[in-house]
Symmetry: C2
Subunit: 207 residues, 2 copies
């Protein structure tokens, strides 16, 4: 890993814990193992480092969602996956999304940084909303809509179903960002939530 990347990495760690303004360039340099002026050979300013983090996340996020949408645009395959093992598949999807968000090193630090910086400007606010509200909701909505069409699930409004499915995951995620020691708790609640979600919406159980 070259110095430029190490600067980005160290900065993301520090920004995600203390916020952009509370971190000094000397602190970043320290974490990298160089002196502050050396940073300026790699980035022209402190803000430039921050922008570098945003750019890298942009690339990673596009890769990630492109991979997901590939499945999404292939309803036949997804129908096959979900129809065979529906409750387990739902739990798998939920827990999978949750642990990815929570344990992927870059995603997790980036989300914390965005959480801290979201009120600074509208662009960061929009980015947070996109990544942790709108995109997940529309993705879940698509999946649940397909399950409805397949006749597996009740014919409820998909966007409200998506909200029911995703919001608890989101709440537990922000909880674990704050208090990582409560992750086992959160995982247990998440699994119970999905089981109940499945029981409620699955056709033929209660209707």
């Amino acid at each position: 890993m070259n110095t430029k990347s190490r600067i980005l990495d160290a900065s993301l760690t520090l920004f995600s814990e203390k916020g952009y303004h509370s971190v000094s360039v000397a602190e970043i340099a320290d974490a990298v193992g160089i002196k502050a002026p050396s940073l300026y050979k790699h980035y022209k300013s402190k803000r430039d480092i921050f922008d570098g983090i945003l750019s890298e996340m942009q690339i990673r996020y596009e890769k990630q969602t492109a991979a997901l949408q590939m499945n999404g645009s292939n309803p036949a395959a997804d129908a096959g996956i979900f129809s065979s093992v529906s409750e387990d598949a739902l739990i798998h999807m939920g827990i999978g999304l949750f642990t990815y968000f929570l344990h992927d090193d870059y995603v997790c630090r980036f989300r914390k940084m965005l959480t801290i910086e979201q009120f600074h400007d509208a662009e960061l606010a929009a980015l947070y909303t996109k990544q942790y509200t709108d995109d997940p909701l529309s993705y879940q909505s698509q999946i649940l809509s397909m399950l409805s069409v397949c006749g597996l699930f009740r014919d409820a409004k998909p966007d409200i179903m998506a909200l029911h499915f995703y919001a608890p995951l989101y709440l537990l995620l922000t909880l674990c960002d704050r208090e990582p020691e409560r992750e086992p708790d959160a995982l247990c609640l998440l699994e119970q939530h999905i089981r109940q979600f499945n029981q409620i919406y699955k056709k033929g159980i209660s209707q």
Copy 2:
């Protein structure tokens, strides 16, 4: 309103928008309409102002929850309220909690400040979790548990029901903190969510 209170108020506004570290005492003084050194006649340091905000919130929060728990410890009265106009009452409770959280000036600015500062130390993290996760969940859980006992609602696990009820409210709340212009959207979704919640859990509709 005396100067000491005006300092607290101006500081809370600034801290909630930019974070503690990004706000200078000169900026606070400017907002109050005095010069920076004059602040030190009212508070011994910048940190002392921050602590003052925490203390005032502590007092307000205790008053608020004390008022709520009075109802909570009176199951008979609550049962009467909810059994008569169940769906409307649920919607009223949800929208009411939501708009209180979102429009109470002090609560709203304090929550934003906590959002920004939550990763700085464990005490602030715990405070956030208490006010916006644990306390609301346990309160909703109590209410829903009572409705179950009354035979109005299905006999599902109250804490999971509370999560289903509250998590969407929480997600939409954090969304509106970031993008206030989406409040009409959020309110519409919230109402639909509660209607569907009621339809799903209310006895005699689907079981």
